[in-house]
C-alpha cells in the first residue's frame, strides 16, 4: 500500500507543486488534484460500466432474436471445418458445446460471490492508498526533510544530492511510463477505428483503447490483457453475421469476427511501442540506453515475473544514479 501511495504521490507531486505555485495553497492544490483524479476515475468507470451494460443488453436481445444456441453450434462446426483446412487439430466435440457453456455459467455465478469479497478488499486497499497518497502529497517536502536529518554531517551534502537525483529519475521514469501508456491508448483507438472502417463493427472503442493503454503499464501480460476486451466486443457484436464469420485477413487467412485483424493491430501497436515509443520516452527519461532497458526487463521478468518487469527500469535508473554517486564518492573520498 505504501509503495503504491509513494508511486502515486511521485507522479502527482509535480502537478500539485505547479498548482500550488498558481493558487498559493498546498492543501487546496492537493484537494483539487485528488478530487479531479477521483472524478476522472469515477466518470470513466461509470461510463464504461454503462457502455458494458448497453453492450450486454444488445447481446442478450441478439441471443433472443437470432437463436443463440443454433448460431453458436453452427459457428463451432464451421470453425472446426475452417480450421481443419489449415491446421491439424484434435477432434472437438461440438455437439454439447451449449451444455458446457451452461455449466460454465453456473461456475461463474459461484465465482461472483467470492469476487464480491475480493472487490470489498480491493476497495479497502484503494481507500487506504488514497489516504496515504493525500498525506504524502500534503507533507511530502516536510516528510523528506525529517528523513534527511538522520544523515551524518560527513555525508549530508552528498546524501541530499543523491536523494534529489534519485527522486528526479524515478519521477521522470513514471511520467515516461504514463506517456507511453497514453501513446498505446491513442494508437489502439486509431487502430480500432481503422478496423471499424473495414467493417469490424467494434463498439466501446475509446474504453478498449484506454484499457489497452493502462494494461500496457504491466509489461508482457499487459498487451494481451488489452487485446481481450476488443476480441470479446468483436465476437459479441458480430455473432450471426455471415460476412464477419467468413472474413479473411488480407483476403487469404480466415479471420472469423476479425479476431486475427484485432490481434495483428495490437501486435503492430506493441511493436511500435516497444521499439520506438518506450525506448525513447522511458529510456531517455531515466537516461538508460534502450538495450540496457531491454536487458533490465529480461532480468526483472526472469527473477520475479511481470512485477519484476514493471519495477526493472526504475530500479536500473536508481542503481545507475547510486552507482554514479558511489563512483564519484570513492574518487573523492578524501574530500568528505
Amino acid at each position: 500500500m505504501l509503495i503504491f501511495a509513494f508511486l502515486f504521490s511521485t507522479i502527482l507531486l509535480p502537478l500539485v507543486d505547479h498548482l500550488e505555485s498558481q493558487i498559493k495553497s498546498r492543501a487546496l492544490s492537493v484537494l483539487i488534484v485528488t478530487i479531479s483524479l477521483i472524478s476522472a476515475i469515477i466518470i470513466f468507470l461509470k461510463s464504461f460500466a454503462s457502455g458494458m451494460l448497453r453492450q450486454a443488453r444488445e447481446f442478450s436481445s441478439q441471443i433472443e432474436t437470432k437463436g443463440y444456441a443454433e448460431n453458436l453450434n453452427s459457428l463451432a462446426v464451421r470453425l472446426e471445418l475452417a480450421l481443419k483446412k489449415h491446421v491439424n487439430i484434435p477432434d472437438i466435440d461440438s455437439s454439447n458445446i451449449v451444455s458446457k457453456i451452461n455449466d460454465m455459467v453456473g461456475d461463474i455465478i459461484q465465482n461472483l460471490v467470492s469476487l464480491a469479497g475480493t472487490i470489498g478488499g480491493f476497495i479497502f486497499t484503494a481507500i487506504m492508498v488514497l489516504i496515504f497518497t493525500i498525506i504524502l502529497l500534503a507533507n511530502y517536502h516536510e516528510f523528506k526533510k525529517s528523513l534527511v536529518q538522520f544523515i551524518p554531517n560527513k555525508y549530508f551534502e552528498m546524501g541530499l544530492r543523491l536523494i534529489f537525483n534519485v527522486e528526479h529519475q524515478v519521477s521522470n521514469y513514471l511520467q515516461g511510463q504514463l506517456l507511453a501508456a497514453s501513446s498505446v491508448a491513442i494508437m489502439s483507438i486509431i487502430g480500432l477505428y481503422i478496423l471499424n472502417a473495414t467493417g469490424a463493427n467494434l463498439t466501446l472503442v475509446v474504453f478498449i483503447g484506454i484499457i489497452a493503454g493502462l494494461a500496457n503499464l504491466i509489461p508482457l501480460v499487459g498487451p494481451f490483457a488489452g487485446m481481450l476486451p476488443a476480441i470479446l466486443v468483436a465476437v459479441m457484436n458480430n455473432i450471426g453475421s455471415e460476412a464477419a464469420l467468413s472474413h479473411q485477413l488480407f483476403s487469404t487467412v480466415p479471420s472469423p469476427f476479425y479476431i486475427l485483424d484485432i490481434i495483428l493491430m495490437f501486435l503492430i501497436v506493441q511493436q511500435i511501442d516497444n521499439n520506438l515509443v518506450t525506448p525513447i520516452l522511458v529510456g531517455e527519461s531515466v537516461g538508460i540506453h534502450p538495450l540496457v532497458v531491454m536487458i533490465a526487463l529480461l532480468i526483472g521478468g526472469t527473477l520475479i515475473g511481470p512485477l519484476g518487469m514493471l519495477l526493472a527500469v526504475p530500479a536500473t535508473g536508481i542503481l545507475k544514479v547510486v552507482g554514479r554517486e558511489i563512483m564519484f564518492l570513492t574518487r573523492n573520498a578524501h574530500l568528505l
Binding site: S21, H141, N153, R161, L335, L336
Partner: protein
C-alpha cells in the same frame, strides 16, 4: 467553553517569531521577505550541529548549498590543514557562508571547519529549486537577493584589485 474557543482561534496572535526566523531575517539573502515568507523558508532549512574541529565541508568537495551560523563559530580556510593553510575568515553567530553553491553545481573553493560547538542552518540548492517551482514569487526574491550579494562581493573584489594595482 466560549473562552477556550476564542483562545484557540487567536492563539497565534501573541506568538513570537521562531529563533530561526529571528536569525535568517538578518541575512541579506532573506531581506525584504515578509513574515509568512520567512516562516516558509525556515521550514526548508536543515538544523545541523557540529563539534569543534569538525569539517562542515572540505575544499574541492561538491557544494550543495549555504550555511548560516545559528550559534558557535566557523573558520574558512584555503590550503592544507596540516601546514600551509590560510584562514580567510572567522565567522560567528548570524554569519553565513557557501552561498555560491546555491547558484552553481561546482566544488567548494575553500574548506569550512567548526571551531566551537556550532549549530548551523543549511539551505540547499535542491530546496531552492523546489521553492522556485512551488512559490515562484518567493524563489525570485531570494534569487534577486542572492544576485545582490554576489554583485557586492564582485564589487569589493574589484576594489581590492584596483587598490592592489595602485599600491604597486
Amino acid at each position: 467553553m466560549k473562552n477556550a474557543y476564542w483562545t484557540n482561534l487567536f492563539k497565534n496572535w501573541g506568538k513570537t517569531e521562531s529563533e530561526t526566523v529571528t536569525i535568517i531575517k538578518k541575512i541579506p539573502i532573506f531581506t525584504e521577505l515578509n513574515k509568512k515568507e520567512l516562516n516558509e523558508v525556515s521550514k526548508l532549512l536543515h538544523d545541523r550541529t557540529y563539534k569543534p574541529e569538525e569539517y562542515v565541508f572540505k575544499r574541492h568537495a561538491p557544494g550543495e548549498g549555504m550555511f548560516i551560523i545559528q550559534s558557535g563559530a566557523v573558520k574558512i580556510i584555503v590550503g592544507e590543514t596540516s601546514g600551509n593553510s590560510q584562514v580567510l575568515a572567522e565567522l560567528s553567530n548570524g554569519d553565513f557562508f557557501g552561498e555560491m553553491a546555491l547558484l552553481e553545481d561546482e566544488v567548494r573553493s575553500a574548506a569550512a571547519i567548526a571551531t566551537d560547538h556550532s549549530r548551523l542552518l543549511g539551505f540547499f540548492r535542491s530546496d531552492l529549486q523546489i521553492l522556485i517551482e512551488r512559490k515562484p514569487a518567493l524563489g525570485n526574491k531570494i534569487l534577486q537577493n542572492l544576485s545582490k550579494v554576489v554583485c557586492t562581493r564582485l564589487r569589493k573584489t574589484n576594489e581590492l584589485l584596483i587598490q592592489e594595482q595602485s599600491d604597486k
